[in-house]
């Protein structure tokens, strides 16, 4: 058992054991997963952080190499090797790592992600409450789900039952002086108010790359990247150089299919129109990843619903796509300008 108030000393002990600790912290009433200093006490009463764990393991902006054109040299910049612990993540965030692993580690191995991932301990705090956007149970997970966690802390009154789930987790609790609880009765998990029906979705997606419904469901979308960048499983990236006359640096940065320049190549824009970009988002998560690694690239964390500035609701869209076959009405013709 560990009391809720003792989690700050777990942070302190992890920091002194040499870990970089990331934990939920509050800013202006919103909670973000961010680097925690020795002495920080994690937020525990929130539903979920605004940002997902990919923020740490697949950073939004990662320097890859410095190059020098004068002496024609390239110096690669390694991913940080220090051990890190993601403390008090939620079960859906931990589950998102299993999806990222399946995509990024095999068969092609993203060596930077692999290195970061190997050095990371995932200590999940199971959920005590859910909000109207949460739909993890519809994606096969749940408020007390263990997928992807090395340790799960299950709420039991003012304390947590400590359940190590992997060797890495066992080693970690030893290092920070926590004891495993074999028994104990955790609080019952919160009841989700949201169910997203996905029957028939995959079959519909298999057959309906061309459908007027794509225009219908994406009509409110203003084409920003908020849902993509907050999504814990969206993992598309771009490589970009920042070059001066003689020297430069190469970065890997987040990218997403919402943007007009996404995968744009010489003379060809593969996804003209917002509907085509929104379609890519849904297809990638609910068809391509299923076809490729037999996982749905969605954990039902609900961030895309919670933070969409214009109320686009993926759960509603997933349910509406297979309904009734054809579109409600013909959409407008494609235009040249999109954003």
């Amino acid at each position: 058992m560990v009391s809720k108030s003792d989690l700050s000393s777990v942070i302190a002990r992890a920091v002194s054991a040499g870990y970089e600790v990331y934990a939920p912290g509050k800013r202006n009433g919103k909670v973000y997963l961010e680097k925690a200093d020795d002495g920080a006490s994690p937020e525990l009463d929130h539903v979920i952080t605004v940002n997902g764990v990919k923020d740490i393991l697949l950073p939004r902006c990662e320097p890859l190499a410095d190059f020098n054109l004068t002496d024609v040299s390239i110096e690669s910049i390694d991913a940080p090797a220090a051990g890190r612990v993601l403390l008090a993540t939620r079960p859906c965030d931990a589950a998102s790592l299993v999806i990222l692993d399946a995509i990024l580690l095999d068969p092609a191995r993203d060596t930077r992600y692999a290195r970061m991932r190997e050095e990371t301990v995932v200590v999940t705090v199971a959920c005590s409450r859910a909000d109207a956007a949460c739909f993890c149970t519809s994606m096969g997970y749940g408020p007390h789900d263990e997928t992807g966690s090395d340790v799960i802390l299950l709420p039991a009154g003012d304390s947590y039952l400590v359940r190590p789930l992997t060797e890495k987790g066992k080693a970690f609790i030893g290092e920070v002086g926590l004891e495993a609880d074999a028994g104990g009765e955790p609080d019952s998990p919160p009841q989700l108010t949201r169910t997203v029906r996905t029957e028939g979705l995959k079959a519909w997606l298999d057959e309906n790359f061309e459908s007027e419904k794509w225009r219908d469901v994406s009509i409110n979308c203003i084409g920003c990247g908020a849902c993509y960048y907050l999504c814990p499983t969206c993992h598309c990236f771009d490589i970009t150089d920042e070059a001066g006359v003689a020297r430069g640096r190469r970065y890997r940065i987040w990218d997403c299919c919402s943007f007009a320049d996404f995968t744009k190549m010489a003379g060809h824009q593969p996804r003209v129109g917002r509907h085509a970009r929104y379609r890519q988002r849904i297809m990638h998560k609910f068809k391509y990843t299923v076809d490729n690694v037999n996982l749905t690239a969605c954990v039902g964390d609900g961030r895309c619903i919670r933070h969409c500035p214009v109320g686009v609701d993926i759960g509603e869209i997933l349910e509406s796509l297979p309904e009734g076959g054809a579109a409600r009405r013909g959409g407008p013709e494609p235009g040249s300008r999109e954003g």
Binding site: V50, C224, G225, Y228, Y251, W254, R306, V312, E338
Partner: protein, 302 residues
């Protein structure tokens, strides 16, 4: 009063659609499961019956005029109906002045507005505006009655009067030293993830290709490190100076809680001070950066 305005709005939008005076009315509808409010594109009189008007109607719908399907309708000479609060109508005025829309191709249903609720509380799962507080911009609103409309819904005489200075909340920036301001902004912008929600929510950001998307050459650093974030937000600030209508949508859209709207509102204050001009208040006015006077101030050029 909101209910009678809502009925009137539905009636007007229904009439426009049944008479085929417009192809679509862009307004507000219920959010999923009745939770909050979100944009609604009504294309039939039946759909117009789903339009809502209440204090959760926060979005500036003018941003949709430069997007599919409105853009396509306007390009082929069709007409679009749009529901606009005062702040939204200011954006429409700027779009008119800048030749982005033709006056006759847009039917503006102007809403007399007493202010909309701060949707901040919606983030934790409550309904929009469950905090019960109106947005700061509404407390200092100067346009309860829209400066541009074809149909006005609501009673202008009944609108609450503005209190205080519209630029009140950027005054704290003005009082900061240069160093303090630098640390204020670098602190905020270091968190920018470059999702461009601010740009996309902005009705004034209608460029067909944003300079951030131009890669030959790459004018703006793409990475979201501080330098890249500063480059983007600075160029956006410059593009919005004298054009920003202070609707605050960029700040509302930001998932990282960066007060993006303060940047352009600060500049709006500077333009007002130097040129006595407020964007979008008067369709007949000539925008600040389209006039030249011998006695134009230049003391801000340093």
């Amino acid at each position: 009063m909101q209910e009678s305005s809502q009925n009137r709005l539905r009636e007007e939008a229904g009439k426009l659609l049944s008479a085929a005076a417009v192809e679509v009315v862009v307004g507000y509808g219920d959010g999923h499961g009745g939770d909050g409010v979100r944009p609604l594109f009504a294309r039939t009189p039946d759909e117009a019956a789903g339009l809502v008007w209440n204090d959760a109607c926060v979005h500036n719908l003018a941003t949709y005029l430069s997007r599919e399907p409105c853009r396509q309708i306007l390009l082929r000479g069709g007409k679009v109906g749009i529901v606009a609060k005062g702040c939204d109508a200011r954006a429409l005025v700027v779009l008119l002045q800048e030749g982005q829309i033709a006056r006759e191709s847009v039917h503006v249903i102007g809403m007399v507005c007493d202010g909309v609720l701060d949707p901040g509380a919606a983030v934790s799962g409550g309904t929009a505006g469950s905090s019960g507080a109106v947005l700061p911009k509404c407390r200092q609103c100067e346009v309860q009655t829209p400066p541009l409309y074809d149909t006005l819904v609501g009673d202008p005489a009944g609108a609450a009067a503005a209190e205080g200075d519209p630029l009140e909340d950027v005054k704290d920036l003005q009082s900061m030293s240069l160093e303090e301001r630098w640390s204020f902004w670098t602190g905020h912008l270091a968190r920018c993830i470059k999702c461009y929600a601010c740009r996309q929510a902005c009705p004034m950001c209608y460029c067909a290709t944003c300079i951030t998307e131009k890669s030959e050459p790459q004018w703006i650093d793409k990475p979201s490190h501080l330098k890249g974030a500063l480059a983007y937000h600075l160029i956006r600030a410059m593009h919005l100076a004298g054009r920003c209508v202070s609707c605050g949508e960029c700040g509302r859209a930001c998932p990282m809680d960066i007060p993006v709207d303060k940047i352009s509102r600060y500049l709006a204050g500077q333009v007002e001070e130097a040129f006595d001009y407020k964007a979008g208040m008067d369709p007949e006015a000539t925008p600040a950066f389209r006039t030249y006077r011998e006695d134009d101030p230049e003391d801000f050029i340093r």
